[in-house]
């Protein structure tokens, strides 16, 4: 039962990733792309982590998965921030994508 629920969550997370990727490819400028990417990946990652945690063997694995989710999320957010920051700095000098 838990396995089915887990698989469903992972599937849902994957859908978010696909959506984020489509956004990355289709959106016009860097900020929209970042928007699509960070939102979709944040949620997608959380869902997949939750799904995997449901399928995990013991408490130790759940703790590890949580930690992985936490650090990936923090790193992703920081990266998004840095990219946006760099893009905004570069803008006045005539960078238009």
């Amino acid at each position: 039962m838990l396995d089915i629920l887990g698989a469903a969550l992972i599937g849902l997370g994957t859908v978010f990733f696909v959506a984020g990727t489509v956004g990355l490819l289709r959106f016009p400028d860097i900020f929209c792309r970042l928007h699509a990417l960070t939102k979709a990946d944040g949620l997608g990652l959380a869902l997949i982590a939750l799904g995997v945690a449901l399928m995990a063997d013991g408490a130790g694995d759940v703790v590890r998965i949580t930690l992985i989710w936490f650090f990936v999320a923090v790193a992703g957010a920081t990266c998004g921030h840095l990219i946006a920051r760099y893009a905004r700095r570069a803008m006045p000098e005539g960078r238009h994508d």
Partner: protein, 324 residues
């Protein structure tokens, strides 16, 4: 085609090859490096698929992480030196010169011949060759550790591994020799969010690196992966200017570089005698010795990789002192 995983394999392999082509053919060098990093991560993923988690860890941490950082740093330096730092694109850093036709033909012939050789050798090979599986399995109990890859690296073929650490030492000596305290591109200002991130992750990375090292005795991980993860601490410190190499730190750095080589070679020599040859650890102390070597080698690897990233030897220069 019975296995649905095969489709995943095909897609992954195709993505790896496509990324390889893309990273060499894209015009913007920055994009090329980013594509290369993606390529490395996907390669690591396919090695996980092939049941090689140690290799995947090493490739992700060293082959992709450290190498990618090195490449990006170099690109920034080149653009800084050539005055194109502010331009939107850095297409290439070397001016292209016309290549004479015979050279092109010779290169093409060489590539063709080598690829032909590769194809003949691969297609003629047995699918799953004979290996050392049985030998390793037989020798495992005497190795002192429970993880076969660690046993091979630090016991059965420790001589190779010692020389690998020597290669790292040679690299850092050569790099210090090549770059002579030249002024560097100014460090990028990364902002408060980045600093918070660095403060949060630094202790976590230390824990992860040490864990990988410790875990290496019985599970995937070990000195090289742990060392690479700890090197990330050095990279973060250098990038966020929390640590600025000083000329007076050179002595300590030199000792840190040679620590792994010296300890590894020293233990290898000291265990010899009483009928034993070099590298032959007495079985009852094998685990202790291996962990000792691994610990010291990890420190060396971490410091060396960070130094390779920083590049030049910290010597006193006016431009050094002037930089805040």
């Amino acid at each position: 085609m019975t296995d649905p995983v095969i489709i995943f394999d095909l897609l992954l392999a195709a993505a790896v090859v496509a990324l390889a082509v893309a990273s060499l053919s894209v015009r913007d060098l920055f994009v090329a490096i980013v594509l290369f990093i993606t390529f490395g991560l996907l390669s690591a993923l396919s090695w996980v698929r092939l049941a090689a988690p140690d290799v995947a860890l090493a490739e992700a941490a060293i082959g992709t992480g450290v190498t990618g950082a090195l490449l990006l740093k170099t690109l920034r330096h080149l653009r800084y030196v050539s005055g194109t730092l502010d331009r939107a694109e850095a297409l290439s850093v070397t001016p292209a010169a016309p290549v004479p036709a015979p050279v092109i033909w010779a290169n093409a012939a060489f590539c063709g011949l080598v690829t032909l050789g590769l194809a003949v050798a691969f297609l003629g090979a047995p699918r799953s060759g004979p290996g050392f599986d049985a030998l390793v399995a037989e020798a495992m109990p005497a190795s002192g550790v429970d993880h076969p890859v660690t046993a091979v690296l630090l016991n059965f073929r420790a001589y190779d591994t010692l020389m690998e650490v020597v290669v790292l030492l040679a690299a850092v000596i050569a790099v210090w020799q090549i770059e002579r305290g030249l002024s560097d591109a100014p460090a990028p200002v990364l902002g408060a969010v980045w600093e918070g991130f660095a403060r949060l992750t630094l202790p976590a990375i230390v824990v992860v690196g040490t864990y990988l090292l410790w875990k290496g005795a019985e599970a995937p991980g070990g000195a090289f992966q742990g060392g690479a993860v700890l090197a990330a601490v050095g990279l973060l410190l250098l990038l966020s200017r929390l640590y600025v190499p000083q000329p007076s730190h050179r002595g300590v750095a030199r000792w840190a570089f040679v620590l792994g080589t010296g300890a590894f070679a020293g233990v290898a020599l000291l265990v010899a005698g009483g009928g034993r040859v070099a590298f032959e650890y007495p079985p009852e102390h094998a685990k202790t010795l291996i962990l000792l070597i691994e610990g010291l080698v990890t420190i060396s690897i971490a410091v060396t990789l960070a130094a390779l990233f920083h590049g030049r030897e910290p010597v006193a220069l006016r431009s050094d002192r002037g930089r805040a």
